[in-house]
């Protein structure tokens, strides 16, 4: 035991020169999906720090609090909803999330990142280019209340009338949709999980076709089903944006992480639907 004590003293006196550096970033990737990989490539191009990456879908369970305690990173990066959910108990470090649909909901100051909802102004510009003035919108106040409030303020400035109907239960949508008949020139779909159930999406698309009201959505996935236009996100650019945010957090050592709008979008449209509705192509 004396030898052990001596060795212990020597161990504390070890020169720090040849030591390996710990990772600055702990990257949690929800799965090996191609979209996440694309975003991660973008992230790495903008933030060249040492990292430890864990793909959550490779494991049946991952204790992120234990990982943070052991890896001692300076910033946690969460890619996808599973990674964001796993990071919610991290309080001592900034968490930068991307490609997470639940970002912004119940988020403390240290959790932010790039949201999945394009800034309202970009949608309003699209409505203006389509030539529509009255726009119907369904949303869950708990999930999208703040976004809709912001959209209403900006719509007033742009001269667009927004008919925003709160939906607290997915089953309430059908009745509220009936009341919109003849009241709107376009339908705006938000990525709101209460509203956008499979059944509701079919009802909204049917409404769009039967009432000749163009539907503008958050992804081109619905164009083939009858939506008129969509603002697609760019996963690689979301990665770059998140990388820049992580770099600034590492540089300035702030703990508060903002939630930013994605800055790059791709406008896609369904020409046949636009022609049928006699709308000009945006």
């Amino acid at each position: 035991m004396r030898a052990l004590a001596l060795f212990l003293l020597l161990a504390f006196c070890l020169p720090p020169l040849p030591l390996a550096q710990g990772a600055e970033l702990l990257i949690l990737e929800s799965s090996r999906s191609a979209v996440y990989s694309e975003a991660l490539r973008g992230f790495r191009s903008a933030c060249r720090s040492s990292e430890q990456t864990v793909v959550l879908s490779d494991y049946a369970e991952v204790d992120v609090q234990r990982l943070v305690k052991e890896e001692r990173p300076r910033v946690v990066v969460a890619i996808g909803d599973r990674a964001l959910a796993a990071s919610r108990k991290v309080r001592e470090l900034p968490v930068v999330a991307m490609l997470s649909l639940n970002l912004g909901r119940h988020a403390p100051d240290n959790i932010g990142g790039i949201s999945m909802t394009v800034a309202p102004r970009e949608y309003l510009n699209l409505f203006q280019s389509l030539g529509v003035k009255r726009v119907g919108l369904f949303y869950d106040p708990k999930k999208s209340g703040q976004y809709v409030k912001r959209a209403q303020q900006e719509a007033r400035q742009e001269g667009v009338t927004l008919l925003a109907e709160p939906v607290r239960d997915p089953r309430d949508l059908q009745a509220k949709l009936e009341r919109m008949k003849g009241e709107i020139d376009a339908l705006w779909m938000l990525p709101d999980a209460t509203v956008a159930t499979t059944v509701n999406m079919e009802a909204l698309l049917l409404f769009s076709m039967t009432q000749s009201v163009p539907m503008v959505t958050f992804t081109s996935h619905y164009l083939k089903n009858g939506a008129a236009a969509a603002l697609d996100l760019d996963p690689a650019d979301i990665g770059v944006q998140a990388g820049e945010l992580a770099s600034s957090l590492l540089k300035w050592e702030t703990h508060r992480v903002p939630v930013l709008d994605p800055r790059k979008t791709h406008l896609k449209s369904n020409e046949s639907v636009l022609r049928k509705l006699r709308l000009r192509s945006p």
Partner: protein, 620 residues
């Protein structure tokens, strides 16, 4: 025998299968959105690996609030019983008093902490009553198995570190109620939320029972509150108050003509600060104070003549401060601590001097722990100096190392020299005088953890410990006994396959008196062999979780009143009523000791026979 055992298993398996078959498959808006963005992230039918490998030198097991909720546990004792290497003497009615062992070390030598505050009742054999700690306030439990004095002080056999919940970002709450055999009821409520900087977490509850075995009625009222303030730079300050009062039947025997009852009160206030000072440099500080009281009363069952009437109390206060610097590969943590405890014990029937005393204990400590990594090798030294009033001043040290064979396979080991304070109570004292000499441990552990094998995570640990501990078996005076405890632990966990996960652990402990070579009784060293098995099923779309737990142990020489062998099987089910909703109400039920087995040290503190409970949780 084997056929009988398999037949016994058929019924719970059939019940589990029936429930699973009835579970509906449901979808949600979240799935629709994920699909539309191309982010569809379905849980694979078979995950490649169970969990990532840890990178620490000690043998540590972690339990989270989710793990606790899925077994519908009431107290920490029920949670610990499910973990590899930990053995409760026997689980009784929820809210009872328990002794336990961790890798052969007695609960007298295990330090139990809640948010850094020791829960061990110095005047009551230094045992922390984990059966009197409710689980609702717990975020996670970290169990360090093996001597840990260099980091924690008086922790000869290990540490159970309980971390409480922090305020949630948004307002939330929960109400829960359950009822079972012998009017065993557990009512709980929880509320949490945060403003711009301030947050709160509050919980309160009542756990009571008429007793699942004779003379084992329980009644526990508990409350816990935490207020926190988040600094803009990521630091936080929190103030918590933990208050618990329990009345419990300790045992009853018509054969021995006695009954024993007890009451315990715990009150702790804790102020805690975590503050980052610079890049990778943070300060942690803590100040706490509180009071613990315990009363026990034993009397003849037939005549009511008192046998024992003792009251113990402890007033404690302390503070510690530490600086930690570095990253995963290169780190130092150093700190100082101060603890003061006033202990009093009064017994009015026999009035023995060792049961009637007042004394004050003081401890001043300084410690330093580090991590140095060169390539794949990390060296983890640690040293701690304690200055104790009334006792010798111990120096504890440890030297650990981890070698990363691959990214997910780790070879670990450590050697340590540590101590435990002498037992300050009737069985550990002579004529009311505290022993000056401490209990010591020299220990070596080695192990391998790997998550590289497909579909299975494996962790093995070999341990060897020479301990010099107080032995209570021989007649007075109590003396230090040299013992050797060595053995192995194997843990396995499978990947999830169609929602099913298997886990298992096997422990072998050989504990002997070093001089005579005599094998120690299970009372001193826990079971020689223990096997724990778990089958979990989870279906998120159906909102169903099911857990079947098996626990077999062979106790060496438990005494004439004990039952040496027996296996316990418990089944726990939880069903969300609205699986797609984050705040769905849940129904849960637990079926304990399905096969009515018996395994205990004393028949007057026997384990309960088969019993059942059911309840519901509402979230808002």
């Amino acid at each position: 025998m084997r056929r009988n055992f398999i037949t016994k298993l058929l019924f719970p398996c059939a019940l589990l299968s029936a429930v699973l078959a009835a579970a509906p498959a449901l979808g949600s808006g979240q799935d629709e959105l994920s699909d539309s963005f191309g982010l569809s992230d379905p849980t694979p039918e078979l995950t490649p690996f169970p969990r990532p490998a840890s990178r620490i030198a000690e043998n540590v097991t972690v339990v989270t609030a989710e793990d606790i909720a899925r077994i519908n546990a009431h107290t920490v004792a029920e949670v610990l019983q499910t973990l590899p290497g930990i053995q409760m003497d026997q689980l009784q009615t929820p809210g009872s008093v328990h002794f336990f062992q961790v890798l052969g070390a007695s609960s007298r030598h295990i330090l139990v902490l809640i948010d850094g505050v020791a829960q061990n009742f110095i005047g009551s054999e230094n045992v922390a009553q984990v059966g009197l700690i409710p689980v609702q306030m717990i975020e996670r439990i970290e169990v360090v198995k093996g001597g840990a004095s260099a980091a924690w002080g008086s922790a000869l056999g290990g540490v159970i570190n309980i971390v409480t919940k922090s305020p949630a970002a948004d307002r939330a709450g929960m109400v829960s109620g359950s009822t079972g055999k012998s009017a065993t009821r557990d009512l709980r409520a929880e509320a949490t939320g945060s403003g711009e900087r301030f947050g709160y977490y509050l919980t309160a509850g009542k756990l009571s029972s008429d007793g699942l075995v004779a003379g084992n009625d329980t009644d526990m009222n508990h409350g816990f509150g935490k207020l926190s303030y988040d600094f803009p730079n990521g630091g936080d300050l929190s103030l918590s108050l933990d208050a618990r009062h329990s009345m419990v039947g300790l045992g009853e025997s018509r054969q021995l003509d006695f009954h024993d009852t007890g009451a315990a009160t715990h009150t702790t206030g804790n102020l805690s600060l975590k503050y980052p000072l610079a890049q990778r440099l943070a300060m942690e500080a803590n100040a706490h104070a509180g009071r613990r009281e315990v009363a026990t009363r034993a009397a003849r069952l037939t005549t009511g003549v008192p046998l024992n009437n003792a009251r113990g109390n402890e007033a404690f206060r302390g503070a510690d401060a530490a600086l930690s610097w570095g990253d995963a590969n290169h780190a130092l943590k150093g700190g100082v601590a101060y603890e003061e405890t006033e202990v009093g014990l009064h017994e009015s029937v026999r009035r023995l001097p060792q049961q009637n005393y007042e004394l004050a204990l003081r401890r001043e400590s300084a410690y330093l722990n580090g991590t140095y990594t060169v390539g794949r090798l990390s060296i983890l030294p640690g040293v701690r100096l304690d200055r104790l009033s009334l006792m010798e001043d111990p120096v504890s040290y440890t030297l650990g190392a981890t070698l990363r064979l691959t990214d997910n396979t780790l070879l670990r080991g450590y050697a340590a020299y540590g101590y435990n304070m002498p037992i300050v109570s009737n069985i550990g004292m002579q004529n009311g005088e505290v022993r000056r000499d401490l209990q010591h441990v020299r220990t070596v552990q080695m192990g391998l953890e790997s998550a590289d094998l497909p579909f299975v995570w494996v962790k093995t640990t070999f341990f060897y410990a020479e301990v010099n501990v107080q032995d209570f078996d021989p007649p007075a005076p109590p003396q230090l006994s040299q013992q050797v405890k060595q053995g192995a632990e194997l843990e396995l966990k499978s990947s999830a396959w169609y929602g099913f996960t298997l886990s298992g652990s096997y422990n072998f402990t050989d504990a002997r008196d070093q001089k005579t070579g005599k094998v120690l009784s299970a009372l001193d060293a826990g079971p020689r062999q223990a096997l724990k098995i778990g089958v979990r099923y989870d279906s998120q779309p159906a909102g169903l979780s099911a857990t079947l737990l098996g626990d077999w142990a062979k106790l060496h020489n438990p005494g004439p009143l004990g039952k040496a062998k027996g296996e316990f099987w418990d089944l726990h089910l939880t069903q969300k009523l609205s699986p797609a909703s984050d705040n769905s109400p849940e129904l849960f039920l637990s079926w304990h000791n399905i096969f009515n087995s018996e395994r205990y040290f004393y028949d007057f503190r026997a384990n309960p026979p088969r019993w059942f409970e059911a309840g519901a949780r509402w979230f808002f």
